[in-house]
Every structure is written in C-alpha cells, then in structure tokens.
C-alpha cells in the first residue's frame, strides 16, 4: 500500500529560531510528504508523544541554541523506551562538526547543517524510509 511519508518537524527546547523549521516543513510538503509542525518550545516527551500519536515515519528536530547534545539524544531515548524506535530521527541547526559524530552515536540518523538544500534533505528522508521497509 502506498502512502505519503509522514514527517514531524519539531522545535525542542526554548529556541525561537523557526525560519529553518518552517522552510523545511513547507519544502517537504512540496515534495509530497505529509508534514506536521509542532511549533516552538516542545519538550522531548511532548515531541515523542506527538510523533507516536500522528504515526509519523520521521522526526526532524531543529535547534539553533546549542542545546542539541542534550535534547536530540533524549528524543531518541524516549522513542526506544516506548518501542517506537522505528521512527527515524534527523536533526538540523547550528551544530558543530564534532557534535554530529556524537549525535549519530546516540542514534540520530543524520544532521543537516546550514547550507544543506531542502532537496538533499528530502532525498535522504525518502531513502532512509525506504530502507526501513515502509512503502512510499
């Protein structure tokens, strides 16, 4: 059965920079995906609850405040705790190279930093969802 890929774009923590999150949400919609945007100031627990309730394939986390090392792994941990770790977590924002390695170790599938095109992000999501065996 073919269904569109479902993506939750989320802003964990207190960061108010939503330009990137809003752009990526719209760009993925234009790529034919179904996108839900959480709005600002979501706790990891709220994000995971929304992701499960909305039955998404992917969570895209956006953080420009430097809190990514604390907040992104917490989302992954809560997904595992709730046996929802089939949901792929990707991230973006102001994130130094050395943190990207750490985040991947923690289970974040990919980190997109400044300068990444929206098409590259969409292609990655399609590929990784396909690998997971979801037909889309």
């Amino acid at each position: 059965m073919n269904r569109p890929i479902r993506v939750l774009i989320a802003k964990p923590g207190l960061d108010g920079h939503d330009r990137g999150a809003l752009i990526i949400a719209q760009a993925l919609r234009d790529e034919g995906m179904e996108v839900i945007y959480t709005g600002l100031r979501q706790t990891p627990a709220q994000i995971v609850a929304t992701a499960i309730q909305e039955d998404v394939d992917v969570i895209g986390l956006s953080c420009l405040s430097g809190a990514h090392n604390e907040l992104f792994p917490e989302v992954v941990r809560l997904l595992r705790e709730q046996q929802a770790d089939d949901i792929v977590v990707v991230g973006g924002g102001v994130i130094p190279q050395e943190d990207i390695a750490y985040l991947k170790e923690q289970g974040v599938a990919e980190v997109f930093t400044s300068g990444t095109t929206t098409t590259e992000t969409a292609e990655f999501i399609r590929r990784v969802v396909k690998e997971k065996g979801v037909q889309a």
């Binding site: 923590g13 207190l14 752009i23 405040s65 809190a67 990514h68 130094p96 300068g115 929206t118």
Partner: protein, 541 residues
C-alpha cells in the same frame, strides 16, 4: 534642453554597446525587489539638513565628526563570572558600551532548575537566576560610566530592576544609569519567540516601564523597537522598516492610552535594525526609516520635543547572512554590512564574528569583529563627513522608494487595526514566511549566489576551533540557586511576590513591587510565575 539631448545621445550609444556587451541579467533588483536602473541621472530635490527634521541625513548636525558611534558587542555565555571576564576583556580592547546576551531560560522566565530549561542553561547567553548573578555580572564595572544594553523582552522589568539594585549597591543612583532594555514584545510574537504573556498584559508591562523610567531612570532607553529579528526571520528591507515602525506606532498608542504625554516617553524610544547584504539598499533603508519615523511622530502624534522625532538606532550585521562554509569569508561580509550601517548613520553597532554560523564566538573571533569597526572608524575616513552618500541619485531615489513602500505597508497594518491585531491575525508572520521561502528557493536554484555555499565551494573543509560552554556549568548554576533559596529570607520573598500579584491584578505600576522582589532575591522564574498566575501565557496563532 541640452542635458536631455545628451542623455538620449548616451542612450542611443548604449543600445549599440549592448549588442556587444549584453547585461548579466534582464532585470536587477534589490533584496526587497525594487528594480535597479542602469544609471541614475536625477532624484527628487529636497532641502534636508542633518540634525533637522526629518533627519534623513542624520540625527545630529555633525554626526561622527563629533563622536563616533558606540561600539557595542553583544556578549554572554555560561556563568555571570565568565561573562564578566569577557566584558572586561572587550572594554580593555576599546569597546565603548556593553551588550548583555541572556540565556533562553532567563529570557523566557524559567529558573535554571526548571525542567523546561533542560539543555539551555548558559547556552546562548549568561544565566541569570537572581540578583546574586547580576551582582557578579557587573562586578568591577561602574554602572555610572559604562552604558549597558540588555537583550531582554518579556522579563525586561525584572532585569531592569536588577540593574537598579546593583547600581544602588555600587553607590550609583537610578537617575545616573544609562542603558537600554530591548523590551519589544511585538517582534517576539512575530519573529523571535521569547514571549511569555499574552499581548495585552505585555503591553501594560511595557507602558509601566515607560512611566516608571520617565520618573526614576530618565537616561534609560526604555525600549529598542527591533527590526533586526524580523529581517533575520526572512523579511525584506521594506518589511523590516514597515513592521518595526508599525510596532513603534503601537507602543506610542499604548503609552498614550495609559495616560502618558508623548514628549514624556518618546525621547527614550530607540530602534534596532539589521545590516544585510545589499549595500545601497541598506544605507537607503536607514535614511528612509529616519525620515518616516520623524513624520509619524510629528504629524500623527504631534510630538514637539526634537528628541521625540529622532529615530536613534543600534545596528547589528545580519546573522543569517553568515555561512558555516569557509567562515573567514564572513569577516568580509561583516565589513560591508558594518560600512552600510555607518554610512546610514547608526548610533551604535555590533559586528558579528566570523564563526557565529557554527557557535558562539571565540575570544579571537570576537576581537576581529571589534577591530573591523575600529578600522572603519579610524582608518577608512568614512566617518569624517556627514551622510557622505546624500545627494547620490541612486541613494536618494532608493530612500524615497523604501519610504513610500514602507508607508504603504504601514497603512495596511493600520487597516488591520494596528500591529497587535496584525500579529494576532498572523499577518506579519505570513508575509515574512513567504519571503523566507522564496529566498531559500532562489538560493537553491542558484539565482541568489552565496559564496562558498552554492558557488565557489571547497571540498573537505575543516572547521576552526570553536567556543564551547562548559558542560558542567548547568549543574553548578543549579547548585548555587538551591543554596540561594536555602539561605535567603523566604518570608520577605513570599511577601514581595504576593504584593506583586496584587499590583499586577490591579492597575498600579508593577515596577516598585518587582524591584522589591528582586532585592529580596526572588528569582526570575518565581517573579515570572507570579505574573503568569495573573496574566496567563501566550499561545501562538
């Protein structure tokens, strides 16, 4: 007319020239979409003088010939002690004013131990929980000599009260204090996101501050009406001017409704703009904003004090123009943007550091950013005459165009019932979003070139060493906060918070009870929670 025929002769010649040398694009436009002509040969004649209404050419008659702009670098991270060290370093290096960056929990009214603060303590700025932290932040910095700007909005009253209290401990009277609080909540709803309370009580907090400062802290700039973040969120230059001035109009109206006289508070209104990439459009933008605001204050609000008519502004170079790729290129971007701000007549300036698309700046990067301003000020000669580009056909025409377009957009906001209603209806948010998406698409299609990102890229770049906030810091801050709560006079805190709630629920000015709570070492989170209980919280549209 001889001139006319000379022009048509030139135009005919140019048609032939174009056959050999076609132009790079069919149309050239500014970032606001204003079409740029091949050559400007005339502009509307005006008699405008610096230091005189409508201040297009600058708010002072001699501008930088008398006094250079204030070099004010925004800084703050980790603990009050570390930030205090960075402040002293910047002052030693010749910076002329301070600008405090607070962390997000402080800006949104959460204590460092609040679950909502997870991961954010000390990250984008200094963590301030109580007066104790503020005392450390300004240790050894005389508040009667150094002016202090604070990027604080929803809890602005609390942080201002803390400055007053630290001043008192230093023996500085409130009337001697000089500085600025951002205190611009409307752009938080529109673009920046550090709101706490709904619009109506937020506007009341702002007018309470206007009133209190007019009486007690007369040299303090009570608001910095900010286009900076509107631009960062993606707006055009025209939208930046229009939305900022529309917000300004709303603050003036709120203060008038609260019973203040226009010339009582308007001299303390200040502004904050972005210096973005399109060099000439930015210069024209600053000139147009000054002219438009002067006219608004004179004709719409009948202000008569000269200072009420003068748009004084701080500028920061455009953070969103910085690239993570080839970060040293950012030094050049910042230089051009800073030059535009100076040619546009700014009163103070922050130049971004080269590594800010990656992290907070290292000490070395912060120093280069400051040196960039010093080179413009002391070596380039651009500060030696007033409004050097005034009279340029191009700049004057662009100034008029930006003024007209911004005025039309302000009129649309007026028709929506003013800035608060426009924000509640999501008007500005939608307009900015639309432009941000367009810009992204232009960059992805290569129509807008970003050097080092979509053109002239490098393979296998390595990142420079970056500043890291001490990861153990949050634990230390939380421990210090627990210690404070255990040792302060809890009864005094409870009483002060109860009185604050009473004031907030009535119509009495809240500033005196906030000051009392601050002096009792009530925390930012506790004071904000007291206000949340009365005012409620803002839910975005």
């Amino acid at each position: 007319m001889e001139n006319k025929s000379a022009k048509s002769r030139w135009e005919e010649k140019t048609v032939r020239w174009l056959e050999k040398a076609p132009e790079r694009k069919q149309t050239f436009t500014t970032l606001s979409g204003i079409e740029v002509e091949r050559l400007y040969t005339e502009h509307e004649a005006r008699e405008e003088w610096p230091g005189e209404f409508p201040y297009t050419r600058g708010i002072h008659p001699t501008m930088y010939r008398s006094r250079l702009w204030t070099m004010r670098q925004y800084a703050g991270f980790g603990s009050a002690k570390e930030t205090n060290e960075r402040f002293r370093y910047l002052l030693q290096q010749g910076q002329s004013g301070l600008s405090v960056a607070f962390d997000l929990p402080t800006q949104i009214g959460y204590d460092s131990d609040d679950p909502m603060a997870m991961g954010e303590v000390g990250k984008v700025g200094v963590a301030i929980d109580s007066l104790q932290d503020m005392e450390q932040l300004f240790a050894g910095i005389p508040l009667d000599q150094v002016s202090t700007s604070m990027t604080i909005n929803a809890p602005a009253a609390i942080l201002l009260a803390m400055v007053i209290a630290v001043g008192e401990k230093q023996g500085v009277r409130p009337e001697q204090l000089r500085g600025t609080i951002q205190n611009d909540i409307l752009k938080e709803y529109i673009a920046r996101g550090t709101y706490i309370f709904p619009p109506q009580p937020s506007m009341r907090l702002i007018t309470d501050i206007f009133q209190y400062c007019a009486e007690h802290v007369p040299k303090w700039n009570t608001i910095s009406i900010s286009g900076y973040h509107i631009r960062e969120a993606g707006s055009t230059a025209v939208q930046e001017v229009a939305f900022t001035l529309a917000n300004g109009i709303q603050y003036v109206e709120a203060a008038l409704e609260a019973g203040l006289e226009v010339d009582q508070f308007a001299p303390r209104l200040s502004f904050f703009f972005n210096a973005h990439n399109h060099f000439f459009e930015e210069i024209a933008k600053f000139r147009a904003a000054r002219r438009l605001w002067a006219k608004i204050m004179k004709h719409r609000f009948h202000a008569s004090n000269e200072r009420s008519l003068q748009l004084r502004f701080h500028t920061q170079t455009g953070g969103s123009t910085l690239t993570a790729q080839q970060p040293d290129n950012n030094i050049v971007r910042v230089t051009l943007q800073a030059l535009a701000a100076v040619l546009g007549g700014t009163q103070s300036l922050h130049t971004n550091a080269r590594d800010e698309a990656l992290a907070l700046p290292t000490e070395e990067s912060a120093r280069i950013a400051l040196r960039t301003q010093q080179i413009i000020a002391y070596e380039s000669g651009v500060a030696d005459t007033v409004d050097p580009l005034g009279g340029s056909h191009y700049i004057e025409t662009l100034t008029d165009q930006i003024e007209q377009e911004a005025e039309a957009l302000i009129k649309r906001i007026d028709e929506l019932g003013g800035a608060v209603h426009a924000v509640e209806q999501g008007f500005m948010q939608r307009e900015i979003r639309r432009v941000a998406l367009e810009t992204q698409r232009k960059i992805e299609r290569g129509e807008e070139v970003v050097v080092g990102v979509n053109k002239f890229t490098l393979e296998n770049e390595t990142q420079p060493p970056l500043l890291r906030v001490n990861p153990a810091f949050a634990k230390e801050q939380i421990a210090a906060l627990k210690e404070l709560r255990a040792t302060r006079n809890q009864e005094a805190v409870n009483q002060a918070l109860a009185r604050l709630k009473q004031a907030a629920a009535g119509t009495e000015n809240v500033m005196p009870s906030i000051l009392e709570a601050v002096k009792a070492y009530a925390t930012v989170g506790e004071i904000c929670n007291a206000l949340r209980a009365v005012f409620g919280e803002y839910k975005p549209v």
